[in-house]
């Protein structure tokens, strides 16, 4: 998915993608090796989200340049707009956030706002649920979920402050 997002900016070949990934995420991410990148690119091509082209170079061996298909572009937009879920949310969301500047697919503030709205709705549901439960163990479970949500919301606020 991040590759797709990167390609949204401009077509690139494998090595360029690798260096871009390293640039954006730096040490926060273990950089995938070039082999993995090519495997992923091939899979994306098989799925019809990217297409490749060979570019003839005079002094070097031919390199394969990949670019997004329309389907691929749609997938990126859909991915970005979709609110993230689950424990990997931070990673996924943060990825979207970091990439969004490059991809120019949507504004960062909108991203944060949509995620916040989603969380608020969840918070409300959880609170309503908690009001109906009186056994301590399930209530604690719900409390835990609420607290995690609040922490995530706080983190959203920090993102907003820092990145905007």
């Amino acid at each position: 998915m991040p590759l797709l997002a990167l390609l949204a900016k401009e077509p690139a070949h494998g090595y360029e993608l690798k260096s871009q990934l390293e640039q954006v995420f730096g040490e926060a991410y273990p950089a995938p090796n070039i082999g993995q990148i090519y495997v992923t690119l091939q899979r994306l091509e098989r799925d019809g989200l990217v297409r490749s082209q060979d570019v003839v170079q005079t002094t070097r061996p031919n390199k394969r340049v990949y670019e997004l298909t329309d389907a691929g572009r749609e997938a990126v937009v859909e991915w970005v707009d979709k609110t993230s879920e689950g424990p990997r949310v931070r990673d996924e969301f943060f990825m979207k956030l970091a990439l969004s500047q490059l991809a120019r697919t949507s504004d960062r503030l909108g991203l944060i706002i949509r995620q916040r709205r989603h969380y608020l709705a969840q918070l409300r549901s959880l609170s309503e649920l908690a009001a109906t439960v009186d056994r301590p163990v399930p209530r604690l479970l719900i409390e835990g979920a609420i607290l995690h949500l609040q922490a995530d919301l706080d983190w959203l606020q920090r993102c907003q402050e820092e990145l905007l």
Binding site: G86, R117, L120, Q122, L123, L129, V133, L141, I142
Partner: protein, 249 residues
Amino acid sequence: MIGSDGTVLLRARSLNKIFAGEGVVVHAVREVDLSLANGEFVAVTGPSGSGKSTLLHMLGGLEKPTSGEIWLEGKRVDGLSQARWAMLRRRHIGFVFQFFNLVSNMTVADNVELAALMGGASRKQATARRRELLGELGLAAKADAAPARLSGGEQQRVALARAMANRPALLLADEPTGNLDSAATTAVLGLLARAHADGQGILLVTHDLRVACTADRVISLFDGMVVDDAPMTIPHRPMLLPDVLKLRG
């Protein structure tokens, strides 16, 4: 607008507030537009320093806007004198603060009755209304106590009673649960929900999102500006325990 009759109760346009003093100029509220319908429950949220309280104070006439318009029940109010605002606050606006809600030298009963008297009730009417309100809150026993003798939660509940003594169209609350423990918070939120169900229009300022999410609509402020103003999305089905487990993966 959930549960409202659609007419606009409160409307603010291009509100600004600039504090200047001792070499520091602070633009606390920037070009804020908002509106509240009759019976609507809106929460204004944001981090410390986002200007929420200042906005609330302006909407209640406690602070004069540097520029902008405020309309209450169809009438322009931002330029009113203090005296006029005071009269509005008797019957049309109720206030609840984070603390100092009750006049310290009067009993609980007196506090509530005073509000009723200000609203034009006779002595008998004021006493009856006080009994009704305190009874609903379960605080009838503490009617003759001094405010200092009550716990924080009890004080806030009395404050709510006082604010709603005259059934004002608009209830303005500034961090009403900021000072309370979770049990008291729940109680106060319950009161607000009940009032809302009865058709009370509420504008609540809070930094606690758990409180904010109980409203119909949440307005997010950041650095004096509105960054989000959206109704609370209602999930198609209520959450169940298994969903909670899934949340955490």
